[in-house]
């Protein structure tokens, strides 16, 4: 139906269009930019704490159960103290220009070499030298739980 079109300023502002978020060489995280990210081990510890606090800590939903099973299986660090140590090591990197996303990815994927880390986390390119990256990876591997 033809008619005069509403000028942009009079219509309700729409939320920014989503759909172009990506985590490739450039990080475009949409509304998750600057949101603190959790590695799989950190999430496991947090979910256990929430569950043990009682009250409404757990839920019977599909999403919750599957997520609990997932983090239990894939957490590289089982002990909460170790998780805190890994967090301390990787948090030093936030000062050097890494984003929350990259820090959490490093703690989750536990790479052996700087080459592997750069391949799996492409946005890491040019943010750290090989030496710095190898140091961090060594520190994290020492704390890994192989049980």
């Amino acid at each position: 139906m033809a008619g005069p079109t509403m000028p942009q300023s009079l219509s309700r502002r729409r939320p920014a269009p989503t759909g172009d978020e990506e985590a490739t060489n450039i990080l475009k995280l949409g509304d998750m930019t600057d949101t603190p990210a959790l590695s799989v081990a950190e999430c496991k510890v947090l979910l256990e704490q929430l569950a043990s606090k009682g009250g409404r800590g757990t839920s019977n939903s599909d999403v919750y159960t599957k997520t609990r099973e997932y983090v239990d299986m894939f957490a590289r660090f089982k002990d909460p103290k170790t998780v805190t140590q890994v967090d301390a090591i990787s948090s030093g990197l936030l000062m050097k220009g890494l984003t929350h996303f990259e820090r959490a990815q490093l703690a989750t994927l536990c790479c052996d070499s700087p080459d592997e880390a750069r391949t799996l986390i492409p946005s890491l390119e040019n943010k750290l030298t090989d030496e710095e990256l190898q140091d961090v990876l060594n520190d994290i591997s020492k704390l890994r739980d192989f049980s």
Binding site: E22, L29, C43, V71, L120
Partner: protein, 171 residues
């Protein structure tokens, strides 16, 4: 990738609940509505705590009270290009399905390195190169998410293992 995000939710409370335990009812409603929900772009895994419950505003014409609740939650959101680990749930001749938490990712034959061929041994189908790499139901696999599609309540994704450092993980 898991994030700790501050979210907002609007709750309507029926007048029969106005009383001393109104805040409990609101929290119950919040947990029931949001915990475990899938918005199509992200999944709300667990609510950590509630930051603030606003002053109630009566909705004209219906008598319900409207509250804006601000809370912190653990959310899971996949990104295109992100590398994740997952558990293989089923293998078909065109590829295999991997469960990454609540998301099912499909890795098609085109995204699998050519050395891994589809073989059926007895009743178990698998992708194997005959030497040391096997992908079958129950294997752990590292993949890169190539594309995501979201609808209200569901997410679909496709992934690839056709790159260095991806593929079945050594158990």
């Amino acid at each position: 990738m898991f994030f700790v995000k501050v979210l907002e939710h609007r709750i309507h409370l029926h007048p029969s609940f106005f009383g001393a335990q109104a805040s409990d009812y609101i929290l119950d409603q919040l947990y029931r509505d949001r915990e475990g929900s899938n918005t199509g772009t992200m999944m709300i895994v667990a609510i950590i705590d509630v930051d603030d419950i606003s002053e109630p505003k009566i909705v004209p014409g219906s008598g319900y009270a409207e509250y804006d609740v601000s809370y912190r939650a653990i959310v899971w959101r996949p990104f295109r290009g992100e590398v994740v680990d997952g558990l293989v749930s089923s293998v078909v001749n065109n590829g295999f399905f991997v469960d990454v938490g609540g998301l099912s990712v499909f890795v098609s034959k085109a995204m699998i390195p050519p050395q891994l061929k589809y073989t059926v041994e007895g009743a178990t189908p698998s992708f194997t190169d005959g030497v040391d790499q096997t992908v079958e139901r129950g294997s752990q696999v590292r993949l890169r998410i190539k594309g995501i599609r979201g609808e209200m309540g569901q997410m679909f994704a496709i992934g690839s293992i056709r790159e260095d450092y991806l593929g079945p993980l050594l158990q």
